[in-house]
């Protein structure tokens, strides 16, 4: 890479040469990876080890470079200008006696850090070059050309603990209270049961009797049971009417239903 700073002495005096030099400069600025990279490039002109570099001199080189670029109307990215401002500040710090009231970092500290940054960047450059010079997969050494397919077999293992089991069981047993639709057989009186009961009892009643008095014992109070027994007994009574065994009557809507054994004609 050409060092633009080297042509500083024979700076463009005009004409074609000036334009050519200006073009070269544009190309070179574009070639830099930021101000730190430019500084690193400029530092090489000092032809000393990076550790012995004069930061003051480097700052001057950089500022001169930026001035020249400006003079040639080269557009510089903002961070090049930020670096220029910072280096100008650094330069003044290095040249002027330290202000005892300023507790900020000294010019020497700032210069040392810049030197460290340059050395580190240089070191990373070299490391990158060494890395890329290594033998590389697919270029110098190679992987298997005909890989064989590895079949994937997925297997699921189910787990459960004894606690899961106990909790599961407990959950079911406590759920009983919450079952809304399960037929509770204990509270169910079937029509068959009602028929049996009515057939047995009807003979004793000679006169009209309230159907509700035929409900089985213990089914009258619990509303659930009462409902079931009443429905079954009513259905059974209709069965018996159909069979011609009893008469049934209701005086008005919602009035009690009465039944009576049908008098057997043969009984006289």
């Amino acid at each position: 890479m050409a060092d633009p700073f080297n042509d500083q002495d024979d700076a463009p005096q005009g004409g074609v040469e000036a334009r050519l030099a200006a073009e070269a400069l544009i190309v070179d600025v574009d070639g830099y990876e930021g101000p730190l990279d430019l500084l690193l490039m400029l530092s090489r002109t000092q032809k000393v080890d990076l550790r012995k570099i004069s930061i003051l001199q480097l700052a001057e080189q950089y500022l001169a470079f930026i001035e020249r670029a400006k003079g040639l109307r080269i557009e510089l990215a903002a961070d090049y200008l930020v670096m220029a401002a910072w280096l100008a500040f650094l330069k003044s710090r290095l040249l002027l006696p330290a202000d005892p009231n300023d507790d900020g970092p000294s010019g020497e500290e700032l210069a040392a850090h810049l030197a460290f940054q340059l050395e580190r960047l240089q070191a990373m450059r070299e490391a990158a070059a060494k890395l890329m010079a290594r033998d590389q997969l697919g270029r110098d050494f190679f992987a298997r050309g005909i890989p064989e397919n590895v079949e994937r077999v997925r297997k699921v293992r189910y787990t459960a603990t004894i606690l899961d089991l106990m909790q599961g069981y407990a959950r079911i047993r406590t759920r009983d209270d919450f079952r809304p639709f399960v037929m509770d057989r204990e509270a169910l009186f079937t029509m068959e049961q009602a028929l049996d009961r009515l057939r047995g009892l009807i003979g004793y009643a000679g006169d009209w009797t309230d159907l509700m008095s035929y409900l089985p014992e213990g089914w009258e109070s619990d509303p659930k049971k009462r409902r079931s027994a009443a429905a079954a007994t009513f259905a059974a009574s209709l069965e018996l009417v159909k069979a011609g065994k009893i008469d049934i009557r209701q005086d008005e809507v919602f009035a009690p239903i009465h039944i009576k054994k049908k008098r057997d004609l043969n009984d006289g």
Partner: protein, 218 residues
């Protein structure tokens, strides 16, 4: 290492046979398809004898995990036939048993032998065939004797594997209802408003009140 005299009058000597063998080995390994002797000849340094190198290489791999094999008129390195089983990768995934399966399993454990109708009666919801099948496949339940009632329904009982998995000597060692209550396990109330169908619907989903279990932890 014997250096053979070049067969033809080459300007350069062919590499030693051991070196040629290395080369053939590398080419067979890295090439995406099987390689003919003609191609090997073209790729190896002038004067090489890949056919001979192949003989040596083939011999070297005898009894190894891979073999140098002839495929048509070309050569390749392949897995030894007896090691094909290694070309399978088994991944085991651990999953928690669904709530439906846990409950069904619990009922079978506590009430065995028990029929499917009885399980449904106790759970208050239907038991899907998949749930029973899963437990059978896990070998945690098996068929017991048929019930001597109309329809002669099959019953389910838990297995030795079940006892092993849950660390039980016998199913009778499962804590009874009284103990469950004492342990606070029966005080659990399902979330209010939980309809019956719901628990069935999410049968295979992750247990929605999974974290409720923490309530029970001692």
């Amino acid at each position: 290492m014997t250096v053979e005299a070049p067969q033809n009058d080459s300007l350069f000597e062919a590499p030693p046979m051991a070196e040629q063998e290395r080369m053939v080995e590398a080419v067979l390994f890295a090439t995406a398809e099987s390689v003919t002797v003609r191609e090997l000849t073209a790729r190896l340094p002038h004067g090489s004898d890949p056919a001979e190198a192949l003989v040596h290489l083939k011999k070297r791999y005898e009894g190894r995990g891979v073999a140098v094999v002839k495929v048509g008129d070309a050569w390749a390195i392949r897995t030894a036939p007896d090691l094909g089983f290694l070309m399978q990768k088994e991944t085991v995934e651990t999953r928690k048993l669904s709530r439906a399966a846990i409950e069904t399993l619990a009922i079978i454990a506590y009430h065995q032998p028990v029929t499917r109708a009885e399980i449904e009666e106790i759970r208050g919801v239907g038991v899907s065939r998949g749930t029973i099948d899963q437990l059978l496949e896990l070998e945690w339940i098996r068929f017991g004797r048929r019930r001597m009632t109309p329809g002669r329904p099959v019953t389910y009982v838990v297995t030795q594997q079940f006892l092993d998995h849950f660390g039980l000597e016998s199913a009778r060692d499962l804590p009874g209802l009284k103990e469950l209550r004492a342990a606070g396990l029966l005080e659990n109330r399902p979330p209010p408003g939980q309809a019956l169908g719901e628990s069935e619907a999410d049968e295979d989903d992750l247990d929605p009140d999974e974290d409720q279990g923490e309530m029970f932890e001692p």
